[in-house]
Structure formats: structure tokens, C-alpha cells
Point group: none
Chain length 235, copies 4
DNA sequence: GATGAATGAGACTTCATTCAT
DNA sequence: TATGAATGAAGTCTCATTCAT
């Protein structure tokens, strides 16, 4: 309807409006859904609205996703859960010192996920987990757990290589996770975290850099005094 | 319009138990509403349930609050007490070193606020700020700003006294704030942050201690080097 | 709305229109539901239609019955399942010969149930059982089973007292049940069982009498030749 | 409009496999539809499912039948074959005693019709007669009436030959019909007639035998007294 | 003819809000 | 004031039917 279809253009690239759309449909729906879920939350997002934003009718949405919950899961899979494979691979392949690895991980995370719309999912889960236990379980299994595992592997690598002091892993993970989650929340709920004066001024890159410095200072064996390169050869 | 406090009641001795309860009504309703809003969010909290928990009927709720939205606003306003006066006074009076002050501040915050029901407001604001802009502004002014100011004063004190290395205040504040907010959220929404295995195991006191150690290690000029270096040789 | 409430009659019998209706409501809804279920089947009956016929709104129906299925169960309980207590009691109390008891049972069944609207439930279950397994299970447990038990008890009594020849109970039960079910179906689906010429002419009483004669002739020890009273003393 | 049979096809040898299938389409659809309508009822049967079972697409179904209702009507019409010509002929030719004829009739009915898929039409008519009055009339004329006539002729033959006691024909017919219909329904809707314990145990052959014995005991002038009285002394 | 993507009316159910008592 | 029965708008999901290819 809001899709201006040129009336008489039998050119070959007009590959059946239906057919072409069919392949694009799930993607369009997922994008519309992500927008709305992040903006209004899971419960407050109406299925019909998602469909309308994707330019289709209510019924079409349910042709591709059997329920609103499945749509949400698909959004999470597409935007977050599906990436851990790649991230784990990068972990295995990484050659440098662990402090550098942590720096790389956090800055890349921001580039690829934290700074995108998808990071709004975190906030969403925070408020809706209680009301949608199945969603919460899914998120636990597909996001929280892989994230914890990955961070723990990084920290453990540092400890194993003598770069980090031995720590209680449980709390170590949260030391890394907390600022990342916080940054996400801050970006998606400025009103509830940031001073108005900071609002436009907080630079995520710098924030991450600052957090990294603090975290590494806390983790590293000889914090800040000696240069890091002195210890890495030990590995 | 909501929250009708009768201006001139007969002398307190004369009011019947019923009447006394009448005055308590709004408070009981607000308390019940806080519990439920924090637990389930705004949309998922049913008006009737709030009323039932407060021991009145659905109709009565709407006698005191003209709508569910008004009830929500009243809940947030009611629970954002101006505790910063008291805390600022303590800041002025504190005599010890700034690392100790920071430790004191964070543990006391947990005792007095973080661990109480009122801390649920944080989570509420996070998820509902978008739908209640006026509330968000109110929260900004009454909570966010004073909190930032207080933390900044502490950090500045440390720098001024030569205990902390000079830092960019804006990010320093978040270094302190992030783990505190994260802890609150974690306690209120386990499903969305914590690995199930950690669920019952994360001890807020220890979490704060761990965070403090990391933060101080990052902030201090020569961060309690003594104690840290004593453990590191083992690595 | 279709309920003419006299405008100014504070007479005591105007016991609050709401209150008076509240007690009548479930009954009115059950009656409307029975009508419609029998007429159109379970699936084809719309909740709103039931409500409208009972003179209330959609929402009110769900105030009294938590779902369409529960409404149906209540209809079955009210009209059929609930009667077995009384019927079993009559069985225990019956003094005469078993052939008389069977005659009494079948004629009374017709008077109290078979000839009423409620007997349409049987037809309904026949077609909908497959699609509503929970309903089918309920009906099994609350209707089919008690009915089988009661008939079996009657037949067994006859056998035990030497009035009936020993028989395979399983098929004996169906010998009694089949004509009763058939009569119900016939009355509720004339088009599908009865010759048009018979339509208004089939007299259920006579039909039952005829069936009884056949059944008893088949069951009794010395069928039709000797009088029944000669054998009963043996019991 | 529905059921478009192409009037003048090229010679049968020339038609491609595809084309031959084309002619078979309506039949395949009707067969699939019969299965599903009998199993699940009209409303619960989905057009797409019928199409899929017939091996075509949803769209094709509507090419042959303009609506689900038309499909249903076609299914019923198609399956109400006029077998009564053949059965009446057998009646005329039968040489033995009328009790044997009745036994023969009932067992043959089960073999040839009762036990086949087509018997599901009975159940269908029962539940849907109300919604398809024209169909009901058709069924009346093509099935009910001939069946009544045939049974009445059998009974009358028995009376005329002095084998059966004189009876009111109208009710006599139902005495024979009831158990047959009941058996059909029972086989098609176990949940709504049979105790679960009987479910797998009811043997149609035995059921018919038992019913026959009862019916004949009721009808016969001195109903096989010999065999019966031989067993009764035991009581 | 055949396909299957798309549509949208319509069903059940929930719940904030009203109002007669 | 307090109650709680009643309302009806709104939301999720289904499925017969259409129609461009």
C-alpha cells in the first residue's frame, strides 16, 4: 500500500512482487519487531503494529512466526544469541596478551552490539523476564550463559597465563559485565541514569576506556606500575 | 485530585478505627502498589490485585487515585525521598581517608537503600521512563543529579587529598555508579542478569567488596599496593 | 436494558438490581448456554452470543465462568452429571422386581432428562469429543462412566436375584443404552434418523415401551411365557 | 460451479499423466475431505489440510469447490450411494426364515457399509443437519426413507409368515435401526459413548450378535425357546 | 490450471474503569 | 465512603478466501 509498485514494468528484475517479498519478509518483520520491542517493551508491543511497520498485515506476521513469543525469540537469536559462535571463534584465535584481549573484546562488543538498537533487548529483559518465564529461560540459555562463559574464559586465560591475579571467577565476571550492561542501560534510558548535562556528552568509547583501565588495574598482577609487556612472555 | 487528604479532621482521639484506617488508605495502597509494580512492572500489575493486597476493594482504589497511571506516579514520587541531605551531611563530617569513605558510602548505601524495597524504583524508572516523561524528569532532578553530585564530591576529595590519581570526573562517577545500579537490577531481575547457578550464591556484601577492590585499585595513586602485592607473588 | 426497572419504587423487594441479578446470573447463563450449545454445538457457539442471550455483556460471562470450556462443563454438571447421586440413591431404595426397576428407570430417565433440552448434550459430545479432548475426558468421567455403572448395577441385580439370565455385562449395558441414546439423537436430529412421515408421530413413551418389551424379553429368564412374578420369590 | 468436469477431453490415450490427474482431482479431494470431516467435523476441518491430504495446494481446492460449504455438500452427496436397489433385490431373492434374514441383513450391513469409511456420513449428518437443511432433506430421501422401507419389509415378512408376533411397525423399525446406528456412532466417537475400559474391547461382530439375540428374543413368536431354555435352568 | 503468499474478519479472553447500591 | 457487578475496548491468534504470478 505504501509500496509504490511501478504499474507497467515487466522488466525481468520485477521478479514477482510476492516472491521477492517472501524472502525479505522475515528480515523486515524482525527489524520492525526489534524497533518496537526496544522502544516499548515486549508486552506493550502489539503484533499488528509490528506487521504494519513491516508493511504487511496482521495475518502475515503469524505466517512467519507462530506467536509473539517466537517472534521475540527470533529477534534475540538474530541479533545476539547467534553471534556467540563467531565471538568464541575469535577468542580461540586471539594471539596477544589477555589485557589486550579484554580491551579488544569490550570495544568490539560496543561496535558490534552495544551501540546498536539490539542492545535495548537487555533493558527489555530486565523488566519483562518476570512476566514471561519462557522468554526468560530462553534468554538465560541463549544469551546470559554464553556471555558468562565467554567472559570467564577470558579471565581464566589471563590467570592461566599469569597476567591476572587469581580471583573468584563468579565476581570477576560481574566486574566485566556490570559496566557493559550499565552502558547499555544508560544509552537506552538516559532519563533514569544520566545527569542531563552529561546526556549528549558521555562518549561510550571513552566510558569503556575508563572502565577498562579500572578493571585492568584491579585484575592485573602488578597493577599499573610495571608495563604489561613484561609479564606476557611468561605465558 | 488523587490522594485526597482530608484537611481538618476532628481531634485525633475522636476518629473511629474506621476513620483512622481511612487516612492510612493511600499509604497502604501505595505500599501494595510499590511491591507489585516492582515485581511485575506497570502493565502486568492489575488494579484489583493492588487493592486486594491493600485490603480494600477495586472501587476504593479508584476513589483515591483517578487511574492506574496516577497511582504509578504517586508510587514513584512517594518513594523518592530526599535522603541526600542526610548523606551530604555525613560526607562533610567524615574524617577518614577517601578510600575508606568510598567503602563506607557503598556499604551504607546498600544497607540503607539498595537492599530495601524502595530500590525497586530504579528498575521501574528504567523500564517505564519512556512512558512517563514527567516522572523521569522528576527522578532526574531528585535522584540522579544529587547522586552524581555526591559521588563526584567523594572522588574530588580523594584527588584533592592526593589519594586518587586525577581522573575525568564524568567517567569516574559512572565507575562507582555502574556496579551499584547493576547490583540493584540484578537483585530485582535475577533471570535477566545472573547465571542460574549463581542465582542463590551471589552475596551482595561480597559483590560490593569485590567491586570496591577493583575500583580502588583503579583509582588509587598507589592503590593499596602493599596488600595487593603480598598476594600476587603466588601467581 | 431489556429489563424494565421501575424508576421510583424503593419497596423492599427491589433488593438491589445488581444483587438480585448476581444470584440469578449463573443460572441464566447456564440456561442460555445450554440452549445454544444444543442448537449449534460447542465450537459454533460464540461466548458473546451466550452472554447476549442471558442479557449481559461478554465480560460478565467470564466473570462467572473462566472459559468457554468451563461454561460447558458447568452446563453438563448442572443438567446431567449432578443427577447421578439422586439416581443411585433411588436404585438403592428400590424395592420391586428388577424388570420393574428397569422400566421405572427408563421411563423416569425420559421424563427427567431424555425429553429435556439437556439431552441434546449427547449429540453434541458425539461430534465434538474429538476436537476437545479435555471436554471429552470430563464427559467420560462425569457422565459415561456413572451411566454405565448404574445400568450395570441394575442388570447385575436382576441376575443376582435370578430374574435375568446371566449375560456378558459389557454388551448388556449397550443393549439398554443404545435405544436411549438413539431416542435422544432422534429427537434432536430428526432429519438424520426419522422418516418424515414419522416425524411428529413417534411417541417417545411408546418407543420406550416397545424397546423395554424387547429388551426384557431378551433378558428375562423365562421370556414372556411365564409371568415374571413366579420367579422373583427366588431372590 | 464447483466440480467442473471438463466436457470434451481429447481421447483418453492422449491425455498426459498430469491431465489424467486433473480429472481425478475432485475425487481425491472428496475422499480427503470425507476422512477429515468425519474425523473432526465440519468447522474443525481446515481447507488447507484437505488440500494437502489430496496432494494439491489450497488454491486448487477452491478451484474445484467454490467454498468449504460446497465441498461439504459434495462430500455428502458423493457418499450417499443408492445401494438400496441391490439390497432390495437380495430381499426379494432370500429364501430362508425371517430371523435368519434379519441376521444376514445386519451382518452384511456391517460388512458392506457400517464398517467402511462411508458410515461416517451418518455421524456427519447427525451433527451438521441443522446447518445444512438441503443436505438433510437429500439424506432423508436417499437414505433414511429407503432404509426404513427395507427394514419394515423384513419385519412384515416375519409377521406374515407367522415367525414374528404382530407389532407396531413404526417402533419395530427403530428396534432394528437403533443398535445399528448406535454401533456406527460408537465406532466413530468412542469418547462419547464407550467406557474407556471397553474402548478397545467392543467387538462389532459380537455386539451385533448380542443385539440380534435380544431383538429376536423380543420379536419371535416363541423366540428360539429351545436354545434359551436350555441355559436358563442354571439360574 | 496450479500455486501459496497475503489478507482481514472474527473468536476468545483480559482488565481498567464506572456506577448503582 | 466503600463495594463489587458490569462493561466493552483491546489484544492475540486462526483460517477461509483471494489473486498475482
Amino acid at each position: 500500500m505504501d509500496h509504490v509498485t511501478p504499474p507497467c514494468q515487466p522488466s525481468p528484475e520485477l521478479v514477482s512482487r510476492n516472491a521477492r517479498r517472501k524472502e525479505a519478509r522475515p528480515g523486515e518483520l524482525l527489524e520492525a519487531a526489534l524497533d518496537l520491542f526496544v522502544e516499548k517493551g515486549f508486552a506493550a508491543t502489539k503484533a499488528e503494529e509490528v506487521a504494519r511497520r513491516a508493511g504487511v498485515s496482521k495475518g502475515t506476521l503469524f505466517l512467519y512466526f507462530s506467536s509473539k513469543e517466537e517472534l521475540f525469540k527470533a529477534v534475540v537469536r538474530e541479533n545476539i544469541a547467534g553471534r556467540f559462535v563467531e565471538w568464541n571463534a575469535e577468542f580461540e584465535a586471539f594471539k596477544g596478551g589477555t589485557p589486550d584481549m579484554l580491551r579488544y573484546a569490550m570495544t568490539e562488543w560496543w561496535q558490534r552490539l552495544g551501540s546498536t538498537k539490539a542492545s535495548g533487548i537487555t533493558k527489555l529483559m530486565l523488566s519483562e523476564a518476570h512476566n514471561f518465564p519462557e522468554l526468560a529461560a530462553f534468554y538465560q540459555h541463549e544469551v546470559i550463559q554464553p556471555a558468562h562463559v565467554l567472559i570467564r574464559r577470558i579471565l581464566q586465560r589471563g590467570v592461566d597465563r599469569g597476567e591476572f591475579a587469581p580471583i573468584d571467577m563468579k565476581y570477576g565476571v560481574y566486574t566485566v559485565l556490570a559496566p557493559m550492561l550499565f552502558l547499555q542501560l544508560m544509552m537506552h534510558s538516559k532519563n533514569a541514569c544520566i545527569e542531563p548535562s552529561d546526556a549528549s556528552a558521555v562518549d561510550p568509547q571513552k566510558y569503556i576506556a575508563a572502565q577498562l583501565q579500572t578493571i585492568l588495574a584491579g585484575l592485573c598482577v602488578r597493577p599499573s606500575t610495571a608495563s604489561l609487556s613484561e609479564k606476557t612472555p611468561a605465558a
